[in-house]
């Protein structure tokens, strides 16, 4: 029997077996006030707002923590319950500083809202005024324990969703505060500043500094889109007021990856202050002058055509940032194939990213294993995670959270080579690899994993007697971990050198580990740009990572679709040396200031279209901000460039025709 029959406030209702009284109430549209409870996290029963009467029980019980049972008779709306709830609220108010007039959260505060609901127009208890500190040591977040009601949502989200366990209750009784367990200031703790705690905080106790005092939800448009900062492509809920971003929240605790965001996704759009390009410009003599879009596009096509006439089609490079939408990439590809006809197509993505994408695809085509069988979310319930060549700051915050959650559930982590990374402290087994020795270590581990998958004990014994790069202790520890693991996942990072053979052997190890019962997803090389997967998928084998010296390849001019990418200094130096450079970008850079033609581009928050995430799923991007007037979408600008190519050519230049 999966269904329970209960009575709530005299009404016969049904509820799913295993649910709490609160869940049954919610499923049947019975309102029960809550404060410490939040859907998507475990219950805690701390606030006593959801107290209900259950027939046969002497005292009221918290609905959020009491399992519903067959035949239970529940009362949620008795006058006495309302009095208890009122008292609970008044006690909360009197405990700390809950004066609303200068609180950041006033207007969006759940405590305030409940006080209004219960008509609390005065306090029956004297206010306590404990002097508590404000911790503003973290860059993006602040904790004001004076505003805290100790509901514990932040502690639970930090543990259950982020897996980081930074926040906890410290001290005791009415002195209890939310803090790092060893009382480190947040800015000096292991906090990753993902802001999940601020998102769930019902009061003004934890808040994002950059969102403070910018507006309440009721004053904002609340819009949904996809974060384009990296291939995780997290769901975003963006609060916008007068075309300014006020606050960025995730997709909800019950959404993908528990609605997590990283520091960059949640705060970067609020923090960054880059100079925007809003008007097309053309270099005339030594200075750039503003012009309209059609003039700029015409100048661009003239410059590129002139170079191509002189030096051949391949003398012009087409460069794209992986931050572009699939639609812009498609337009770029069409333009390159039909009009520009150059073989030199480059992506502003580290070599390892381009290489690993190609090798993963090649292995699938060879029938060696399907990488697309697994998703990043499979990390959550993996019991063994093998991390190869992770660099400092790796893995990516959301992947790190997923790994930590797996480890918190009893999973194990093996580190192979790599630098001191964000997960170093959680590593169960570290198999070191000296510089240049990673390939042999990976190959030895692959042989071991393959022998284990086949159940070939003789081969295992033989390998244990001596394998290059891995000592016998590490080997046996590794073997015992893979023997007891049901689901193994592999991640690889930026410390893996971009050598085809090495990348291939890393992928082979991932596939070897995934044989047997479990599956393995080599979450290889996340990629730097948001839409790396989409760009590599669309541009295929033709695209290469931007080389260090374009001139050496005979390249004289370039069309660089940077979008909202900030080009690296090396790329700028490389491109500045060309005869003609067309830049299509959102932000000023040393490159845009030196370019022959500058075409403005929208930032990701202004775009509409799609991107392809790390799991090869296509995600929708909707504009949350209006683009500055006259700034075209990337695809519009590319099509304009295409049109001006076929349009009337300028009067012949000296020596222009070949």
């Amino acid at each position: 029997m999966d269904e329970l029959n209960l009575s709530i406030d005299g009404r016969a209702v049904k509820g799913a077996k295993g649910s709490t009284i609160l869940e049954v109430c919610m499923a049947n549209d019975v309102y029960v006030p809550t404060l410490c409870h939040i859907e998507g996290l475990s219950g805690s029963g701390g606030c006593r707002l959801c107290l209900v009467d259950v027939e046969g029980q002497k005292r009221p019980v918290p609905a959020c923590m009491t399992p519903a049972a067959e035949g239970m008779k529940v009362v949620t709306n008795a006058n006495q319950l309302a009095a208890y709830r009122r008292t609970a609220l008044e006690l909360l108010l009197s405990e700390r500083n809950h004066f609303c007039f200068f609180c950041e959260k006033s207007g969006d505060c759940e405590l305030q809202s409940l006080c209004y609901e219960f008509g609390i127009d005065h306090m029956s208890f004297p206010a306590m005024f404990p002097p508590l500190a404000l911790d503003a040591s973290a860059e993006a977040l602040a904790i004001d324990n004076n505003r805290c009601i100790l509901c514990g949502r932040c502690v639970r989200v930090c543990s259950e969703i982020v897996g980081n366990n930074t926040l906890d209750f410290t001290k005791r009784g009415s002195n209890t505060v939310i803090n790092e367990p060893d009382l480190f200031p947040l800015g000096e703790s292991n906090c990753v500043q993902c802001g999940a705690c601020a998102e769930v905080c019902p009061t003004g106790a934890i808040f994002g500094k950059l969102s403070s005092y910018k507006g309440r939800k009721a004053q904002c448009q609340v819009l949904k889109t996809t974060c384009c900062e990296c291939p995780m492509a997290c769901d975003l809920t963006v609060h916008v007021r007068d075309n300014n971003v006020v606050l960025i929240a995730g997709g909800g605790l019950k959404g993908r990856f528990g609605g997590q965001l990283c520091k960059k996704g949640r705060f970067d759009l609020l923090a960054r202050n880059y100079e925007r390009i809003t008007r097309p410009r053309v270099l005339k003599g030594k200075t750039q002058t503003q012009t309209d879009l059609s003039n700029a596009l015409e100048a661009a096509s003239n410059l590129l055509r002139t170079i191509q006439r002189k030096h051949g089609k391949d003398s012009v490079a087409a460069i794209i940032s992986p931050r572009c939408t699939n639609e812009a990439i498609k337009a770029f590809k069409d333009f390159v194939e039909k009009t520009l006809q150059t073989k030199n197509v480059f992506i502003m993505e580290p070599e390892i990213g381009v290489l690993s994408g190609g090798i993963a695809r090649a292995l699938e085509q060879e029938g060696l294993g399907r990488f697309s069988d697994c998703k990043t979310s499979d990390l959550l319930d993996a019991d063994l995670i093998v991390a190869i060549g992770l660099g400092p700051g790796e893995p990516h915050p959301i992947i790190a959270s997923n790994i930590r959650r797996a480890l918190n559930r009893g999973g194990h982590l093996v580190g192979v080579g790599g630098a001191d990374c964000v997960l170093s402290a959680r590593t169960n087994l570290l198999i070191g690899a000296a510089k240049g020795k990673l390939a042999s270590v990976v190959q030895s581990l692959t042989s071991l994993a393959n022998a284990h998958a086949k159940g070939d004990e003789d081969a295992i014994q033989k390998l244990m007697r001596g394998s290059p790069g891995v000592g016998p202790d590490d080997q046996s520890a590794f073997l015992s971990l893979i023997r007891s693991a049901k689901k193994v996942m592999t991640v690889a990072g930026g410390e893996v050198d971009p050598e085809p053979a090495l990348v291939r052997s890393v992928a082979m190890l991932a596939l070897a580990l995934g044989k047997g019962e479990g599956r393995s997803v080599p979450v290889i090389f996340l990629g730097s740009g948001g839409n790396t997967r989409g760009a590599l998928g669309a541009l295929g084998q033709d695209v290469r990572s931007l080389p260090t010296d374009l001139r050496k390849l005979g390249i004289r001019g370039a069309y660089a679709l940077l979008a909202d990418e900030q080009p690296a200094a090396t790329d700028v130096a490389n491109l500045k040396g060309l005869d003609a450079i067309i830049v299509q970008a959102s932000f000023e850079s040393d490159l845009s200031r030196k370019a022959d033609v500058v075409i403005p581009s929208r930032i990701w928050a202004e775009r509409s279209g799609t991107m392809t995430d790390i799991d090869d799923a296509v995600r929708q991007i909707s504009p949350v901000l209006a683009a500055p007037e006259g700034v075209p979408s990337d695809e519009e600008a590319i099509r304009g460039l295409e049109r001006s190519w076929g349009g009337p050519a300028r009067p012949k230049r000296k020596g222009g025709m070949t």
Binding site: Y31, P33, L93, N97, F99, C100, F101, C103, S106, G107, D108, E110, Q112, S113, L114, C115, Y116, E117, G119, D121, H122, M123, S124, P126, A127, F129, P131, R216, K217, A218, Q219
Partner: protein, 170 residues
Amino acid sequence: MSFLNIDEALVDLAGKVEFVRSPIVDSKEFKPCDVAIVEGTVSDTDNLETLKSLRANCKILVALGDCAVFGGMTSFRNLFDTEDVLRRGYVETETTKDGAVPTDLHVPRLLERATPLSAHVQVDYSIPGCPPHPESILHVIASLLEGKDPKLPRELLHFDSRIKVRSDAK
């Protein structure tokens, strides 16, 4: 200011009430009255004396504003010792030279804690808000004049300055 922001409704009110004492009426003592509206925190001995005398002379006492209702901004000094607060104000202020905490008996003494009215006397009705919204003030006064229950309905109850910008749970 919020009281004056009742605007044109003040004209109607003026015809219905008689001001017995207010900060702008020059009278030192209270006469018996029907309604007393008090704003501010009870912070010193003079505040306390005034409040008690007022309570003894009125039938209905209304606390107006977050300070009178909850303690408000003034009560933030409760986070510190009274002596430290006085020294900070009279001696350590950056612009003060040779300052001293007043000892003259005619200067009211600061109470140990700044408290809302309800800590000292019975308060019949409360109008919270910092500042309280004119509509909330008008609702209470008009209800008292008409003999209706002056308790603030949910939409007029607020703790900050705004009554419209809010997200209600239910």
